[in-house]
């Protein structure tokens, strides 16, 4: 227990440092003293706007998205007993961003501001439910991943179809942003629309954590130890769907965070799935804030998408994990 809390303390410390760094670094060079002044609502109005309306919201958006994906990945890995499960790899993020795009494309989002996050969550829930049902019929690690691959290809195809039918170039670039993921220009308002869903999702996942430990022994043994298997499955599916959907509503589809964060944390918590969730959320958030700093400092003509940055680092790590596994433990 003490190991866990000191690990969390270290991760929180690391997260705070990263968030501070993210506030200091940006396209407009601002000295640390101006940022410090702006933080306590002193200094020039311009500095205050840069901090409170641009850098801090963007950083908090990146952190919330990373935390949601990190915890969702950890929980899905526990539920599917598969170290390669992740909202990105299994196509959950892609389904959520497709649903969000459809809601924009058909103008549903003009009815209410809540339509967009709800559409993303419906897309994510549909995908997690499909995967959970598929997982009941097959316990093969490979089959589940193949279903994820098929799901990703299918949503990519539908997305391409929508792009072909897009009425104007603006919506086209909009859709691209959804499938590549970004937290640029996100304000407090956008975060406010996604955060309630992410929070409820994370609470669901934390409530399911002990069941994930029992599932280590296999489903039959878990049930014999008193786990209500279907209730537990609903809880994880709902939690991962809400958290991933909320994350996609805020930033679009960003892959690999939910894969890498739990993989790094696992040895530090003795591989216990129940102890994995919170540290994975903290590390996932931190990793995405670092990736977002990277996006801002890399000198490109147009700003790089955050999802592109995550995939550039995430995909090689994914391959490395697969090779390391050699058919046994991750």
């Amino acid at each position: 227990m003490r190991v866990l809390s000191s690990l969390n303390a270290a991760l929180i410390f690391f997260a705070v440092i990263t968030v501070c760094a993210a506030c200091l670094i940006g396209s407009t060079a601002l000295p640390a003293s101006s940022i410090a002044k702006a933080l306590v609502l002193q200094g020039s109005a311009g500095d205050q706007i840069v901090l409170w309306e641009i850098r801090l919201p963007r950083t908090m958006a990146a952190f919330s998205v990373g935390a949601a994906l990190g915890a969702s990945g950890a929980a899905m890995q526990g539920l599917f007993r598969n170290p390669l499960a992740d909202p990105g790899v299994l196509g959950v993020s892609a389904c959520a961003s497709l649903a969000a795009t459809v809601s924009i494309y058909y103008g549903l989002t003009q009815m209410s501001v809540w339509i967009l996050p709800i559409a993303a969550i419906v897309g994510a829930l549909a995908a997690t439910t499909l995967l959970a049902v598929a997982n009941r019929f097959t316990h093969s690690v490979v089959t589940l991943l193949l279903i994820g691959v098929a799901l990703s290809s299918f949503t990519a195809a539908v997305m391409a179809l929508l792009l072909n039918l897009a009425p104007n170039p603006f919506s086209l670039s909009d859709m691209l942003n959804w499938s590549l993921g970004s937290v640029a220009n996100r304000g407090v308002y956008d975060i406010g629309l996604a955060l309630p869903f992410i929070t409820v999702g994370l609470i669901c996942l934390l409530l399911a954590r002990k069941g994930l430990d029992l599932l280590t022994l296999g489903e039959a043994a878990a049930v014999s130890l008193g786990l209500r298997l279907s209730n537990h499955r609903y809880l994880v599916v709902a939690g991962a769907g809400l958290a991933t959907g909320g994350a996609v509503a805020l930033a679009g589809a960003i892959g690999f965070v939910g894969l890498i964060a739990p993989h790094i944390i696992r040895p530090f918590v003795d591989y216990r799935p129940s102890h994995l969730l919170l540290p994975s959320a903290l590390l996932g958030g931190t990793l995405l804030v670092i990736a977002d700093i990277g996006v801002r400092v890399v000198p490109t003509n147009n700003e790089l998408n955050l999802g592109v940055m995550a995939a550039l680092f995430g995909a090689p790590v994914f391959i490395w994990i697969v090779v390391q596994r050699r058919g046994s433990y991750a």
């Binding site: 007993r81 280590t216 043994a221 049930v223 014999s224 008193g226 696992r266 046994s328 433990y329």
Partner: protein
Amino acid sequence: MPELAVSHLSCRRNGQQILQSSNFSLSGGELVILLGPNGVGKSTLIQASLGLVNAQTGTVTLDGCDVLRMRPVERSRSIAYLPQAKQLAWPLRVRDVVSLGRYPHTETSGGLTQTDWNIVGKALKDCDLEDLADRRVDCLSGGELARVHVARAFSTHAKIIVADEPTGSLDPRQAFSFMNLIRNFVTDGGGALIVTHDLALAHRFADRLLWMHDGQIVADGSPEETFTPKRCAEVYGVDVTVAGRSMTIEGVSP
């Protein structure tokens, strides 16, 4: 003394009758071994008896309480189940795996108390796992892993232990030390139901044998009464010779 009573249990799966109106009982202080060839319905019988798969008809009672209608957590405090050996999903430490057996008692309270950890420590000691307590389960031999699962069942403090082919992949020495652990549990008043294909082991250790054939229990009694060459030929299709507490398989029966 606990008493598990199973009566008229039937089970269908995919339109096939897997279990036909089976009856048996299991009391504390009794080591019962369930015998029968592959695919005869042994696993279904024990899973249905624990309410892990739905039975079509039949009742199961433990000390008069309906097992099939019990809350899962309540049932799991009384009956521990060891499914057929399977690799664990994650390489946890031995101590942590054994502590999962305390879940039925700590489900509502949150974490394990010092008392729970003492019980886990006792279970580790009883199964001779103290030196391995901090090892990861992927560094264990098959026999050590089997003992970890027994320790997990012991730490639940259940009155009944049901194990499905626990000795399947063990060498003779490991299989014997596994059965000795179960024997100690039974001597202390627990009841054990073990599935095995090892006829010699069954003949030596069982207080009572259940013989299963085509989804039915065809014989129920002490090894002396039921372990006959004729029954082995009928149920398993092998010729055996029995001499006192030992037996030999001579070959495939014609």
